[in-house]
C-alpha cells in the first residue's frame, strides 16, 4: 500500500488518516480535523517548504475538505502548485484545485494562464491534466481564453488528448452553447475518429446538440446506425467489451441518440428498425449490463416511429423485467412501461397485477416509480382510485420535496379528470390539509377561481350547490387545529364570498368563525388580511340586503387590534371595514356587490372623470401636462443607457498576452513568435552601446530558426483544423434496409399479448387477494372483463339526473383548466348535441365517443363526429396505411381531422387516431362491448371475489 506510483507519505499523514478512521464520534473527528487544520495553516505558509512536503500538505488539505471542513486558506497554495514543472507535483496541484474550486471562484483567473501554458506542452500527460482542469474550472467568461488551443488539440496524435478535448468542448457547450456553435463540424469529424474511445466521447456533445436541434442532424442517422451495427457485431477491439457485451456504454449512447433522431420521423426510424431489432435479440438478459442495453432499446422503440415488431419485443422485455425478482429490474420495467403505454395503452393491462405488487412494495423507490406510471395512465375512469392512493401516500411521507411533487400531481389530475364537484372539492381539501404550504399558491388561486366561476354558464343551481358544499366542508375543517396558511386563505375567501349566500348559516355564525381564524393564527398576517376582508364582505352583504348589522364583541376587539397594527395592509383593511359599515345600503351595494368576484372591473385609463378638475385648474393658470415623449430639453435616457451597455460588453477580459514592445535592433525576429513558445527566452532589450552584443546575435538567430520551425508546424495543424469534413456515407448502403411489415401484425401482437398475460395470471392466480383484484379492476378497467355485470340491470338503477349533473361540470372543467391531454377524449363536449346518449350510457367515459361514432344514426351536424367517423371507417387497414405509405400521408390524415374539428382535437395530432384505432381493433363486437364496459366503469362496479368472471375474461 502506498508504494505505488512513488508517492511519499509521511508518518504524520498516515497517523492522521488512522486517527480519523478510529474516531468514535463525529465530535472526535471534528476535533482531530480542526487541530490538523491548525497544523497545516502553520506549516503551509512556512517559506522554503520542499516540494514533496508541499504536495503532501495539499493532499492533506484535500482530505480535510473531503471531510466537510473549510480549507480555503490553502487554495492559493494549490493554485501555486499547478505552476510546478514536475508532472507529479503539477498533477496534485490540478487535482486539488479541481476539487476545491467551483467555476465561479476568484482564483480561477490565476489558473487560466497556467492552463494555457500547459495545453501547449509537448508532454501529452501534462496536456491531459490541464484538460481535466479545463472541464471543471473554465467558466463562460474564460472559455475564449482556451478555446483556440482546445480546438487545435482535436487533431492531437494521442487519442487520450483528443478525447479530453472533445469532452472539454462538450462542457463548454453546456455552459455557453454559443461559444462552440461554430465548431459543430469538428464534432462530426471526430465521429469518424479511428479510436473508439474518441468516437464514444464525441457522442456526448452530439447527444446534447441533437437534443436541442434534431433537424440539423438527420443526415447522421445512417452513420449512427452503421456505427451501432458495427459495435453490435463486435467490430470494436476486445478491450471495449464489458462482461461479454460489445461496448455497451457506446451502444447505450447511440440508442439514446437514435431515439431523438427517430422521434416522429418515419423515414429516419425505418433505417433503425433492423439494428434495434438485432440488439433486442442479441442482448443477454441475464447480466445487468445486458438489461441496461435492453432498457435503452425499449426507450428507443417507444420514442421512434412505432414499429409493431419492435413494440412486441419491447413488451416482451418489459414483462421479463416485471416478472423478475430483482427490484432493480422491476423498477426499470415500471419505468419502461410508462414509456410504452404512450404508444400502446393496452399493454398496461397485461401487467396490472405486477404493477399493483410494485405499488404495495415496501420499497419506497419502487412505489414512487409506480405512482409515476399511474399518473401517466390516469383517465377519468380511474382518477378517483389513483388520486386517493396518491393522497394516502402523500400523507404517509415526510420528504417535502416529493410531497410537493405528488401534491401538484394530485391537483393536476383532479383538475383534469374530476368526476364530480363534490369529489373535486374534497380532494383539494385533503391536498391542502396535508401538504398545504408545499402547494404552489397558484393552485389556491385556481381553486378560488373555480369555485367563483362555477362550472356551467346556464346551470346556476349546480354552481351554488358546489359553493354551499364547499362552505360546509370548510366550516367543518376549521374545527381542526393547525391548518396550513394557504388553505386558510382559501377558506377565508370562500367563507367571505359565499358563507351566507345560501342562507343556511347566519352572518354572525360565519363572522364568529372568521374571527376565530384571525385569533388562532395571529402570527400569520396574510391569513388575518384574508379574514378581515371576508368579514367586510359578510357585513357588506348584510347591509346591502337591508339587515341590521351588529358586530360581535370579539370582532370589535379584533378590529381595534388591527386598527393599531404594525402592518399597514391590515390597518388599511380594518379602516376600510370601519368605513363600509358606516355607509348606507345603496353605497355598500355598489362597493361590494354580491357574488361579483368574477365580474370585470372597468378601469377608465384616460381618467376622464378628472377632466372637469383639470379644466378648472388650467383656467386658474396651471401648466398643462406634457407627455414625457414630447418634452424637450431632456436627454433620451434609454439611448444613453444603450450606449453604456454597449461599452460594457466590449470591455471583456483579455487573455492573450500583451504585445511585446517593438524591437528596434533585432528586427528579424517577429514579436509574435517570441510570445508563442515558452521555451524561447524573451530576449533582453539589447542596447547598442554594450560590448557583448555581437556574441548574443548567433544564439538569438538560432532561436528564431527554431520558432520558425514551430510556426510552420502550427500552420500545418491549423490547416487540418480548418478543413471542412463531412461524415462518410459510403458505409451506409449496407445498412439501410427496408423493414418488412406483415399484414397481420395487429393480430400477431394481440395474440402474443394474451399469451403473456395468460402465463402471468395463471402463475399468480393462486395468491391474489380479493382486494388486489378489486384495485386492479378499478385501476385498469380492462374493456373486456366485466361484461356480465354490465348486462344486468344497473343501467336502469342509476338515476339519470346524476349523469347530467356529473357530466356538465366535467366538460366545463376541461374548459376551465384549458388542458386536454391526448388521453382525454375531447368529444365530451359534443355529447351536448346527442340526446340519445344519456339513456344508453353515462357520458363521462372516453369510450363513449367511440360509441357515438359507431352509432349508425349519428348526427351529421357535428363536425367532430363527422371527421372521426371517417377515421374509424378507415381503421381496418389503417395499420397497413401507416407502414406502407410515406410519412406524409399519416400527417395529412390527422390534419384533415383537426382541420374539421374546432374542438381541442387540434392539439392531439396523430396520437388519438392511433389510440382509437388500437381500441377499435380490439373486439369484433365493438360497439356493444364498449358500451357495456363504459357503463360498468361509470357505475363503479368493482369485481370482488364473488366475481369469478374477472379471470375468465382475462384469460380470454
Amino acid at each position: 500500500m502506498g508504494s505505488q506510483g512513488g508517492f511519499y507519505q509521511s508518518k504524520e499523514f498516515l497517523d492522521l488518516v488512522k486517527s480519523i478512521g478510529e474516531a468514535r464520534s463525529k465530535a472526535e473527528e471534528d476535533r482531530i480535523v480542526l487541530s490538523e487544520i491548525e497544523t497545516l495553516k502553520r506549516r503551509i505558509s512556512e517559506p522554503d517548504t520542499p516540494k514533496r512536503k508541499m504536495k503532501e500538505y495539499i493532499i492533506r488539505l484535500v482530505y480535510v475538505e473531503m471531510l466537510g471542513h473549510d480549507a480555503s486558506f490553502g487554495y492559493i497554495h494549490a493554485v501555486k502548485m499547478t505552476h510546478d514543472d514536475t508532472l507529479l507535483v503539477k498533477r496534485t496541484g490540478y487535482l486539488a484545485v479541481t476539487l476545491f474550486l467551483n467555476e465561479d471562484h476568484d482564483l480561477i483567473i490565476l489558473i487560466v494562464n497556467t492552463i494555457q501554458k500547459d495545453l501547449k506542452s509537448d508532454n501529452y500527460l501534462v496536456v491531459c491534466v490541464a484538460l481535466n482542469a479545463v472541464c471543471k474550472l473554465i467558466n463562460e467568461e474564460t472559455i475564449p481564453a482556451v478555446l483556440p488551443q482546445i480546438v487545435e488539440l482535436l487533431a492531437h496524435p494521442k487519442e487520450a488528448v483528443r478525447k479530453k478535448a472533445i469532452m472539454a468542448l462538450h462542457r463548454f457547450y453546456q455552459k455557453s452553447p454559443s461559444s462552440v456553435s461554430h465548431l459543430v463540424s469538428n464534432f462530426r469529424k471526430r465521429l469518424c475518429d479511428n479510436d473508439p474511445g474518441v468516437m464514444g466521447a464525441t457522442l456526448c456533445p452530439l447527444f446534447d446538440l441533437i437534443t436541442n436541434d434534431v433537424n440539423s442532424y438527420k443526415d447522421l442517422v445512417i452513420s449512427f446506425v452503421s456505427i451501432l451495427k458495427q459495435v453490435a457485431e463486435r467490430r470494436l477491439p476486445k478491450a471495449y467489451d464489458y462482461h461479454q457485451m460489445p461496448a455497451p456504454f457506446i451502444q447505450i449512447k447511440l440508442l439514446k441518440i437514435l431515439a431523438l433522431l427517430g422521434s416522429g420521423d418515419k423515414q429516419a426510424s425505418e433505417n433503425m428498425y433492423t439494428v434495434v431489432g438485432d440488439i433486442f435479440r442479441k442482448c443477454d438478459s441475464s447480466s445487468n449490463i445486458g438489461n441496461a442495453v435492453l432498457y435503452e432499446c425499449i426507450c428507443c422503440v417507444s420514442s421512434i416511429y412505432p414499429n409493431p415488431k419492435l413494440l412486441e419485443s419491447a413488451a416482451d422485455a418489459i414483462s421479463r423485467f416485471l416478472k423478475s425478482d430483482s427490484h432493480n429490474l422491476k423498477y426499470m420495467g415500471i419505468d419502461a412501461l410508462g414509456r410504452l403505454i404512450k404508444i400502446s395503452p393496452e399493454i398496461a393491462e397485461q401487467h396490472q397485477l405486477a404493477v399493483i405488487d410494485c405499488l404495495e412494495d415496501p420499497d419506497d423507490t419502487l412505489k414512487r416509480k409506480t405512482f409515476e406510471l399511474l399518473y401517466k395512465m390516469t383517465k377519468s375512469t380511474n382518477v378517483e382510485v389513483i388520486v386517493d392512493r396518491m393522497i394516502d401516500y402523500m400523507i404517509s411521507i415526510n420528504d417535502n420535496h416529493y410531497k410537493t411533487e405528488i401534491a401538484s400531481r394530485c391537483v393536476e389530475l383532479a383538475e383534469q379528470f374530476a368526476p364530480s364537484n363534490q369529489w373535486f372539492i374534497q380532494t383539494m381539501n385533503k391536498v391542502f390539509e396535508h401538504a398545504g404550504d408545499l402547494v404552489n399558491i397558484k393552485v389556491a388561486h385556481n381553486l378560488m377561481r373555480l369555485i367563483a366561476e362555477g362550472f356551467g354558464e346556464d346551470d346556476n343551481t349546480a354552481d351554488s350547490q358546489l359553493r354551499s358544499s364547499a362552505v360546509e366542508s370548510y366550516l367543518y375543517i376549521l374545527g381542526e387545529p393547525k391548518l396550513p396558511s394557504v388553505f386558510l386563505q382559501v377558506i377565508c375567501w370562500v367563507l367571505g364570498e359565499y358563507g351566507t349566500a345560501d342562507g343556511k348559516y347566519s352572518a354572525s355564525y360565519i363572522t364568529g368563525k372568521l374571527c376565530d381564524v384571525a385569533e388562532a393564527y395571529s402570527n400569520d398576517e396574510t391569513v388575518k388580511a384574508y379574514a378581515v376582508t371576508a368579514l367586510m364582505k359578510i357585513y357588506a352583504f348584510e347591509i346591502a340586503a337591508g339587515r341590521m348589522v351588529d358586530m360581535l364583541p370579539e370582532c370589535h376587539s379584533l378590529m381595534e387590534e388591527f386598527l393599531a397594527s404594525h402592518s399597514t395592509d391590515l390597518q388599511q383593511r380594518a379602516y376600510e371595514l370601519q368605513a363600509v359599515i358606516g355607509l348606507d345600503a345603496h353605497a355598500v351595494e355598489s362597493i361590494m356587490p354580491s357574488d361579483a368576484s368574477c365580474e370585470d372591473i372597468e378601469v377608465d385609463k384616460a381618467l376622464s372623470f378628472l377632466n372637469g378638475y383639470i379644466q378648472e385648474s388650467i383656467e386658474k393658470g396651471a401648466q398643462p401636462y406634457i407627455p414625457e415623449s414630447e418634452r424637450s430639453g431632456m436627454l433620451n435616457i434609454s439611448n444613453f443607457r444603450n450606449q453604456d451597455h454597449h461599452e460594457a460588453s466590449s470591455h471583456g477580459l483579455r487573455f492573450e498576452a500583451y504585445e511585446l514592445p517593438k524591437q528596434t535592433v533585432q528586427a528579424r525576429i517577429p514579436p509574435a513568435s517570441l510570445a508563442s513558445t515558452e521555451l524561447v527566452p524573451v530576449p533582453e532589450p539589447v542596447y547598442p552601446r554594450e560590448s557583448y552584443q555581437t556574441t548574443t546575435v548567433p544564439s538569438v538567430s538560432s532561436d528564431a530558426a527554431s520558432t520558425e520551425l514551430k510556426l510552420r508546424l502550427d500552420g500545418v495543424q491549423k490547416k487540418w483544423g480548418r478543413q471542412t469534413h463531412f461524415p462518410s456515407t459510403s458505409t451506409s448502403n449496407s445498412t439501410s434496409q427496408k423493414t418488412v411489415n406483415g399484414i397481420t401484425q395487429v393480430d400477431g401482437s394481440n395474440t402474443a399479448n394474451s399469451r403473456t398475460r395468460e402465463t402471468y395470471d395463471s402463475r399468480k392466480q393462486v395468491e391474489i387477494s380479493p382486494e388486489k383484484q378489486k384495485l386492479a379492476a378499478s385501476l385498469f378497467g380492462g374493456p373486456s372483463k366485466t361484461e356480465k355485470k354490465s348486462a344486468t340491470g344497473h343501467k336502469s338503477s342509476k338515476p339519470s339526473s346524476h349523469m347530467v349533473k356529473s357530466h356538465a361540470p366535467k366538460s366545463s372543467m376541461e374548459v376551465a383548466s384549458e388542458k386536454t391531454s391526448p388521453v382525454q377524449q375531447p368529444p365530451d363536449l359534443l355529447d351536448f348535441g346527442e340526446p340519445t346518449v344519456k339513456s344508453t350510457a353515462p357520458s363521462l367515459d372516453p369510450f363513449k365517443d367511440l360509441e357515438g361514432l359507431l352509432e349508425p344514426t349519428t348526427q351529421v351536424s357535428s363536425a367532430v363526429n363527422h371527421s372521426s367517423t371517417a377515421a374509424v371507417t378507415k381503421s381496418p387497414d389503417i395499420m397497413g396505411l401507416y407502414t406502407e405509405t410515406p410519412a406524409g400521408a399519416h400527417h395529412k390524415d390527422s390534419d384533415i381531422l383537426s382541420g374539421l374539428s374546432n374542438s381541442p382535437m387540434t392539439n392531439m395530432v396523430g396520437g388519438t387516431t392511433t389510440m382509437q384505432v388500437a381500441q377499435t381493433s380490439k373486439s369484433p363486437n365493438l360497439k356493444d362491448s364498449l358500451e357495456k364496459d363504459a357503463l360498468v366503469r361509470q357505475m363503479g362496479v368493482t369485481p370482488s371475489s364473488q366475481n369469478p368472471n374477472l379471470f375468465k375474461d382475462l384469460l380470454g
Partner: protein, 165 residues
Amino acid sequence: MIHFVLLISRQGKVRLTKWYSAYSQKERTKVIRELSGLILTRGPKLCNFVEWRGLRVVYKRYASLYFCMCIDEDDNELEILEIIHHYVEVLDRYFGSVCELDLIYNFHKAYFILDELLIAGELQEPSKRTVARLVAAQDSLVETAKEQTSSITNIIAQAANTASL
C-alpha cells in the same frame, strides 16, 4: 449526466467525493448527510436507486463501502450501476484486489483514476485497459513519458532549444 460521486463507508464516513455540478461547501455537507441517512438505512433486497430532490441516486455496496452516483431523472440507472462497477474493476486492477483501506490511504489515487474514467460528469473511457494504461503512464516518471512519437519537426525543435540553452 452525473452530478456527483460519493464513496461512503457503512458507518457514514466519507471516503471520496467528486462534484461535477456546482455545490457550495455547505450544500455538500448537507447532501452527504441527507444521502447517507437515506442510503445506509436501506435493506439489501431493495432497489439500488433512490429518488432524491428530483434526481436519482444510484448506489452499490461493495463490502463495507457504498459507491453512489447522482444522475438526472432520465438517465439509465442500470447503466450507471455498471459504470460504478466499471470503476470498481479499474480500482481493483490498479491496486490488486482493492479493499477499503487502499482507498482510505490512497484516496488521491482513486481520484486520479476517476478523472480518467469520468470527465465533466460523463463516462469518457469505456475501456479498462486504456484507463489503466493512462494512469500508469502518469505514475511513471515524467521524463520517459515525453512525447517521442510526434513529428520529426518537434524533435528538431527540441534539439534547437537545447542547443540554444
